[in-house]
Structures are given as C-alpha cells and as structure tokens.
Amino acid sequence: AQSVTQLDSQVPVFEEAPVELRCNYSSSVSVYLFWYVQYPNQGLQLLLKYLSGSTLVKGINGFEAEFNKSQTSFHLRKPSVHISDTAEYFCAVISNSGGYQKVTFGTGTKLQVIP
C-alpha cells in the first residue's frame, strides 16, 4: 500500500520567519514526489518535484524540499515566508507498477503567515 502523511494540519508562522512543512510517505516501490499549493477556491499549483538526481530540489516562490530515502521524507522548507504564502500545501507521491500509475495525496497542511 502507498500512503502519504502530513504530520501538521496547521502551521502558524510569523512573517519573514523560516518554515518547514513535513511529509512522510510509504511505498513498496520507487516513487516520485511532489508539493502542491492551493489558494482558497483554486486548484492545485505545482511548487516543486523530485523525479531523480539531486535530492535537494528548488521550486517556485523560494521553496525547496529535500528527498530523504532512508527516512522516507520529503519536507518542504522556505527560509523567509511572506504573507502571500498563506495557503494549503499538499504533498503527493506517484508510483508506477505493472504499467499503472498510482497517485496519493496527503491531507494537507494549512500555512498561516502572521504579520
């Protein structure tokens, strides 16, 4: 079975402070990892992805994430948040097995940036 766990449902942080949103996954096969951001009443926007290669990936809006295979984690980080980063963030994994693609999302983390 494949699963994604986002340990924090809500994360309040002051403006210009650093933030880390945690994501752990479980899968019996190799996976590709993604972070999406969702603003109120909108669809999902891709922030960054890990497909292969360097385990540190950089995305849009100053976000980055590090793939840690031994800890099965893909935590999202930003060194200094802005008010505009207030949104919900979803971690997702995609695996391919037997010609089929399986996509699993976490339950999301609401980031609230406090002025």
């Binding site: 994604v4 590709y32 993604f34 999406y36 009443n41 909108q42 669809g43 999902l44 926007q45 891709l46 992805k49 497909l51 979803f90 995609i94 391919n96 089929y100 693609q101 399986k102 996509v103 699993t104 999302f105 976490g106 339950t107 999301g108």
Partner: protein, 110 residues
Amino acid sequence: DAGVTQSPTHLIKTRGQQVTLRCSPKSGHDTVSWYQQALGQGPQFIFQYYEEEERQRGNFPDRFSGHQFPNYSSELNVNALLLGDSALYLCASSWLNEQYFGPGTRLTVT
C-alpha cells in the same frame, strides 16, 4: 498555453440528479485524471483516462463515470447525486510523471 481548463466553475444540483463536468488538458498532454476534494481533505483519485479508455480507477462507485475524446478532453459524469458528492472536482493532465491541475469545479448537492 491555456493550461488545464475546467467548466463549469460552480454548479448546484439536487439529490438524485445527474451532472457532467468538463476538462480540457494542457496542450500536448494525452492523459487526464479526475480527483474529488472534499472540504478540508486532500484530493482523492477517481479515475484516469488515456487514449480514450479508462486506464485505472480509484475507490469510487459506478455512479462515477467518464469519457475521453480524441482531442484528449474529458468529461466526468456523476449519476444519482448524493449530498456527500458535494466537493471540488479537480482535473489534472499529465505528461510522463508530472501532473498539472485545473482550477476545479465546485459541486454543491442540496
């Protein structure tokens, strides 16, 4: 490039009715997936279409069906609507292992 588009934006239906949601994929993308996102939850995979066929399906009842057209656009149909079908329905088109999402259709069942 217009990206992934969905219509309508919002929809209100009554229990027992049927609804059709539409999705146009990003240019060059041949695979379309549909997701249901209930309030306060992450997206749940409904099914995926490739080459006009349903390639795989999540844990949703047969009331949920779909179609993909030769131009890769897709429809999601839900029959015999239940109150619990109220959600944001997201369409995603993909190329290889990357998915791009549309803005969603907000369905309210009363």
